[in-house]
Amino acid sequence: MKQSPTELTAETEAAVARIGEADLLVGVPSFNNAETIGHVVRAVSGGLAKYFPHAKAVLVNSDGGSSDRTLEAAANAVADLGAMLISDRQSLLHKIITPYHGIPGKGSAFRTIFEIARRLKAKACAVVDSDLRSITPEWVELLIRPVLEEGYDYVAPYYLRHKYDGTITNSIVYPLTRALYGERIRQPIGGDFGFSGRLAEHYLDKHVWESDVARFGIDIWMTTEAIASGARICQSFLGAKIHNPKDPAADLSSMLVQVMGAVFALMEEHHETWSKLEGSNPVRLFGFQYEVGVEPVNVNVDAMIGSFRQGLADLGPIWRAMLAPDTFESLKPLGDCPVQAFHLADDLWARLVYDVALGFHHHVMPREHLLKALTPLYLGRTASFVIETQGLTSREAETRIEALCRAFEKQKPYLVERWEERPAS
């Protein structure tokens, strides 16, 4: 059943009608990003002018009610094309600055962007975060050209990251998504994507816009939905992603609830797809890859192990209810081993994540409690990874993540067999 068309404001409707049709569309969702959005808009403008000078392009800023002059900053940002050595100037870049309707969150912003792309019949689109400091005009080419010229439907980002950046992605979301859906998308919740107009229409037809996906699950939803729908997928190397910290005081357990809640909910929806797949395939990577030295990252391993051990002591009954008996028993030796011997093995971690997914599916306890109780386990796994990889470069640490992914793939039958079984009373 098709969704009803997304509501646009009268001014936006008028702007869309004036423009008529467009070849390319770049969306920038925002909320109180006055400090950075000007740079993003200039980078996008420069990228469209430099790499797609003859295409009719539209930049859409979909805003969630900013109170800090974000809209003015976006409207007034003009790229200095001369400084960027761009002489072959394209036709005027159309800008649409619009508020979005719907429940507050990035998902509602994307819905507005997809709707405008649909009405303009855009062939290739991209969305980039509005708080990026490291975006360059090259990002626009890397996210759009694979769609426009190579026939891909979805371009996931590939960032240059420190080995300890994005640990939820490295230890859970990437290995799990790869094992489930068979595609090695290294950063499935990157935040900056390219996609075809066809895929944007497909997204609009889904009934997720009034759910939690619209609040904080849109990134993983877009990636998972693209894979499950059979879209052609690739990745583009964008270099480092430097952005304003989204919420420095963000609670880790809330992050896990949001991200893992979305991942597990999508598992329920796409069970028919992932239960039949085995192994995984590499995903083509565009862009020129390079390495640079990165700032050292301080990690408090003792605090993480302390959190894990407190969980083992105080959350024992809850962990017993959400994990298989073997899995829980295997965690006990970690309660009192020396710090340097603290090692949460790959197979055990894979089974543990699958147990939590099964517990989510079978409602063994309130779902929010289940996901929040995962926090000390995740910290234990992160501490184990840090201990294993101290002294390794980011590239060397990547081989450990590859080994973890293979463990997830090897343990997948464990998940598939138990998905339909109800746990014993």
Partner: protein
Amino acid sequence: MSEFWQTALVLPLTTLADNVLAILPNVLAMIIIVTVGLITAWAAGQVTERLLRVIRVDHLCNRVGISAALLRGGVKADPSHLVGRLAYWVVAVFAVLAALGALNLQPINQFVQSLLAYIPHLLAAALILLTGYLLSNFVSQAALIAAVNAGLPPARAVATFSRWGVRLIAIAMGLEQLGIAQNIVVVGFGIAFGGVVMASAIAFGLGARDLAKEFLEQQFGRKGVHPKDDLTHL
């Protein structure tokens, strides 16, 4: 002489027989009602138990902790069986009350009426206690997880305090419904709870100034899981 026997013996016996004959239909009705009622009660108990097993109520009770609570109280029977027994006894009690009503005796009728008037309060109190029990488990589990994730050492104490706080409120509300020592329970509960809250506020505000400062800084000024971490999770 025959008149004497007639008056002294036959008349009382005749009166007694008349009274017995007058009440006999009522007694017969009572016996029939009790018999049918007990058979109906047995059937209701069986049907209830089987229905609850089919819809997996035992599994649900296990998940929300009711089965564990029953085991701790020394009750080994399944919740389905217990509810089946409860259905049996409810129907049986109603059958007995109806049977007593069939006797049509004034004192018994008054007793039955006042018992029936009390039943809604009994049901409301049972509902309050059950809801309070389930809510206390939910709240204490949430508090325990939050306390562990925040790294608070007395996490279990926080959870226990939360659990018993909710249960005491539910017990006070239940006793109020039943009309048992209403004023004492409400006032006593208010004094105890208010005293605990005031003592905690004083201890936290004065005795734990530094801890409060650190806690508030962590809540409103912290930069990550632990201040010394630069690690980004997403």
